[in-house]
């Protein structure tokens, strides 16, 4: 049988537990579809006889001597075959636990999957793990083969029992099997036509199911994502090279470079040995473009249009499968490779580890072992341009490298984290800062203390507002120019247009940071009392006025805060009435190097305030500084 090879073959991966018969299934399928080269079937029969065993179709694939001796498929194999409808590339992924890296390597290439399950053994650990990883990799077309039905006497009850179990498991993952087919690969039952030894089965054969799978559709209609792969200057042209991962690009398009946030126009799309110069290019194409201006551009940056730009963030969440010999650890640094970008990231936290046996999750782990799956939060030193996997798989996934080896892969979700793009950009033009004739030193002498910002951060209920108000009271009594900017108060005015979504919180904190800076520059000691859960936001507030900023961590654990619950908010959050509540359903990122940490769990308000009073006297008072004058 031969089908035109001008249509790309559908890529199929065959997965399942070790010894459930994947290689036998493929070998027999090749034989049944007349896809074996001349003499190969005879060779397999001869080889089996030489070893004194019944015909073993798995030998078709087991090309390597070592593999035949061990009886285990070591690596991903790629085999081409075709049905009357189309061509296939079949990827045989090993079921041995040690070789999950090979299974992932194969499955990540595939458009559809065949999950092979032994009729006698039923679902086993690797059946479940492979199912989960298919889901994680985004493979949505899955045919389940219940193999070795001959060993289960072709009984319908056994088939029905397994079908129910498999459907339940997959549906919990959000996967639906395209079909579940009773098969005996060894005997060729159920592969091409309905299995005649199982007349009770009315469904399609394996090949019929495969032929109904749809080929992948290139994401040409999604927003443009063009990761810069390299910049060439072989001749007079300066060419930005890369592959368009999604969307389209045209000459004359205004494009946005992330994370530098610069815009520029596409001058030309370059190519070699093509009939006419291209005016546009789309997803899947490897292209080279030139730009209207000589901007600084380098590998790893992401080109998009101005609308529908990618997320810009230095922290994100991910579902990870771990392949490393050494476990993933909290606090450890890895090299992240996301499209063409490479950055060092640190594991900030491991939220959950997923048990593939029953799909339950547990939290509190500090490591993720080899072959395990979990949800983690990663933090980079600088901004990354990325997408959520559900929006754009190509730019929403990454691998991690430890030393020389790829040790894991992950898919991104941004739940609870904001887009940080352009928060610090000055959008106005033609503005120039004026110089004051009253210097900060003159103000400090007049007031008896320097201006500054005490930035109180901590969970709701940790004591920020209470401490801030009492501190203000005591400092004022000592003659300080002092003022509290409180979270709830600014939301009545300055930030009345903002809600509590991550982006709004970021903007709220930015505004407070700017206002605090103005107060502090005027010589006032400003105390802010905001949860300010994101490290990036506090860092940004610090960067607005680096010399004036003092980060004060008001520390208390969630249980303590929840016990206090002065505003009844935890109760509402637990009841689901408040969404994205810090500490309950949204993250709180503890300060790494705060100027002061005040533990409030076992202390009175006055004790906490006294500690801060001492800090203020030490750091802001001109009297102390000038030797008690």
């Amino acid at each position: 049988m031969h089908v035109s090879s001008e249509i790309p073959p559908l890529k199929l991966v065959v997965v399942g537990h070790v010894d459930h018969g994947k290689s036998t299934l493929i070998g027999r399928l090749l034989h049944e579809t007349n896809s074996l080269p001349d003499g190969k079937a005879e060779a397999v029969i001869a080889m089996s006889e030489r070893r004194g065993m019944p015909v073993e179709w798995a030998f078709v694939l087991d090309a390597l001597q070592a593999e035949r001796d061990q009886g285990i498929t070591i690596d991903t194999t790629q085999i081409f075959f075709n049905t009357e409808k189309r061509n296939y590339v079949i990827i045989d992924a090993p079921g041995h636990k040690e070789f999950l890296k090979n299974m992932v390597s194969g499955a990540a290439l595939s458009d559809a999957a065949v999950l092979v399950i032994d009729a006698k053994d039923g679902m086993q650990e690797q059946s479940r793990r492979h199912g989960y990883i298919l889901h994680l990799l985004g493979v949505r077309q899955v045919a389940v083969v219940i193999n070795k039905m001959d060993l289960a006497d072709y009984r319908e009850e056994r088939f029905q029992e397994l079908t129910t179990e498999i459907r339940n498991y997959l549906s919990e993952l959000g996967l639906e099997a395209s079909a579940i087919i009773p098969v005996s690969a060894r005997e060729g039952q159920g592969l091409i036509t309905a299995p005649d030894k199982m007349p009770w089965y009315q469904g399609p054969s394996l090949v019929q199911v495969l032929d109904n799978f749809t080929p992948p559709i290139l994401p040409t209609e999604r927003p443009l994502r063009f990761p810069v792969q390299d910049v060439y200057k072989f001749d007079e042209r300066r060419i930005i090279a890369g592959r368009i991962e999604s969307g389209r690009i045209h000459t004359g398009d205004k494009i946005l470079i992330s994370p530098s946030n610069k815009t520029v126009t596409v001058k030309s799309i370059e190519s070699w040995n093509t009939k006419a110069p291209a005016l546009s290019a789309s997803a899947g194409q490897s292209v080279g473009i030139t730009l209207s201006e000589q901007l600084f551009i380098e590998r790893g940056q992401m080109i998009s249009h101005e609308s529908n730009a990618p997320f810009e963030t230095n922290v994100f969440r991910a579902r990870i499968f771990w392949l490393g010999r050494k476990p993933l650890e909290i606090g450890k640094r890895y090299k992240l490779k996301l499209a063409t970008n490479e950055q060092i990231v640190e594991v900030q936290s491991i939220e959950t580890v997923i048990d593939v046996e029953n799909l339950t999750t547990r939290s509190g782990d500090t490591t993720l072992e080899r072959n395990a799956i979990g949800e983690v939060t990663l933090r980079a030193r600088s901004m990354l341009a990325l997408d959520e996997f559900s929006d754009n798989p190509k730019t929403g996934r990454f691998v991690l490298v430890d030393e020389y080896d790829t040790v894991g892969g992950g898919t991104i979700f941004m739940e609870g984290y904001p887009d940080q793009r352009s928060r610090t950009d000055v959008r106005s033009t033609n503005i120039t800062a004026v110089e004051h004739r009253v210097t900060p030193e003159l103000r400090a002498h007049a007031n008896g203390h320097e201006g500054g910002v005490l930035w109180l951060t901590g969970l709701s209920g940790a004591g920020k507002s209470t401490i801030a108000i009492e501190l203000e009271h005591q400092l004022f009594a000592k003659g300080y120019q002092v003022y509290v900017l409180d979270g709830d108060n600014v939301r009545f005015g300055l930030s009345s247009d903002l809600g509590f979504a991550p982006e709004d919180r970021v903007e709220n904190i930015r505004r407070v940071g700017e206002v605090a800076k103005l107060f502090a520059s005027a010589g006032v000691l400003v105390i802010t009392a905001f949860i300010s859960p994101y490290r990036a936001d506090r860092d940004r507030a610090r960067s607005i006025a680096p010399d004036l900023f003092h980060e004060v961590y008001i520390a208390a654990d969630v249980a303590t805060c929840e016990g206090r619950d002065p505003k009844g908010l935890y109760k509402k959050a637990r009841a689901g009435e408040i969404k994205e509540f810090t500490g309950v359903s949204a993250p709180y990122e503890e300060p790494v190097t705060p100027e002061v940490t005040v533990e409030t769990a076992d202390r009175t308000v006055n004790e906490s305030v006294a500690e801060l009073m001492a800090y203020v006297e030490e750091n802001f008072s001109m009297v102390k500084r000038n030797g008690g004058r």
Binding site: I7, Q78, K101, S105, R237, A241, R243, S286, G409
Partner: protein, 264 residues
């Protein structure tokens, strides 16, 4: 995008990754159809340029037509060509079967060339559909100090994130056309007008389907005298492409042994 466009785009992506990651790299130009396609793809990737040397390990036993071809197109394409002679057969492991031993001369020459040029990466035009052990290859495939291939412990490779970090002493083989089939190659040659040695076309009822050394490569029976006829012929055959290569047939594991030791 059609099928050939998709294959081309992927190969271009791979070549550009390689060029970005390795300062000292070279491409094996065996003068066969696959390696001509590969050189062509490099010119696509680098917009008319081949920004690294092409390398040729000369057994001294190639067909005269191949040497003529090399002379003509290395000049016409303006490439930097490095040619080195293979060591004599006496220097090669005598336990190998004869044709395999002969082919192993190339491996030895390549090892010496890699050492001489201090190459970090060598680009080779192998394909998964050619031969079973090649089906198991990675696109970026690390080699040990003695160029050996450890097929039992290959790095994971997915989402086009290739292995680009190595311990000192290892080098990498890069396979930009691993995902192409023999038919894809011919269709692309036809579409792009890529020159090939005319031994591939039928003369007196025979043609070469795969080109190696004269003494260990045999022509097949064929009347195909044009690219179109070759494509038609291949669509109807189920005879393996490398059936004319003697070393593939000496023992079940002869080719595997060659590749484990560093053969392409």
């Amino acid at each position: 995008m059609d099928h050939l466009d998709a294959l081309e785009a992927q190969s271009v992506y791979i070549l550009r990754e390689a060029f970005n990651k390795f300062d000292r790299m070279g491409m094996l130009w065996s003068l066969g159809k696959d390696s001509n396609v590969m050189v062509w793809l490099a010119r696509k990737a680098f917009l008319g340029h081949v920004p690294f040397p092409l390398m040729f390990c000369d057994t001294g036993k190639k067909f005269p037509e191949m040497y003529d071809f090399q002379k003509k197109y290395s000049a016409e394409w303006g490439v930097n060509l490095i040619v080195r002679d293979c060591p004599p057969i006496e220097e090669i492991d005598p336990t190998l079967p004869p044709a395999t031993r002969s082919a192993a001369r190339k491996t030895e020459a390549l090892k010496r060339l890699i050492a001489e040029q201090d190459m970090q990466a060598v680009v080779a035009g192998i394909r998964r559909d050619e031969e079973a052990t090649r089906a198991k290859e990675r696109v970026f495939s690390p080699r040990g100090e003695n160029a050996e291939w450890d097929f039992r412990d290959q790095p994971p490779e997915f989402w086009d994130q290739f292995k680009t970090d190595f311990a000192p002493g290892t080098h990498i083989r890069i396979h930009p056309i691993l995902h192409w089939t023999e038919l894809d190659i011919w269709r692309y040659i036809q579409r792009e007008g890529i020159p090939i040695v005319d031994l591939y076309f039928s003369k007196n009822g025979k043609r070469y389907r795969s080109l190696g050394d004269q003494d260990i490569t045999n022509p097949i029976k064929s009347e195909a005298g044009t690219i179109e006829e070759i494509i038609t012929e291949l669509e109807g055959t189920s005879i393996a492409e490398r059936s004319g290569r003697a070393m593939d047939h000496e023992a079940e594991d002869a080719f595997e042994r060659l590749r484990t030791a560093g053969y392409m």
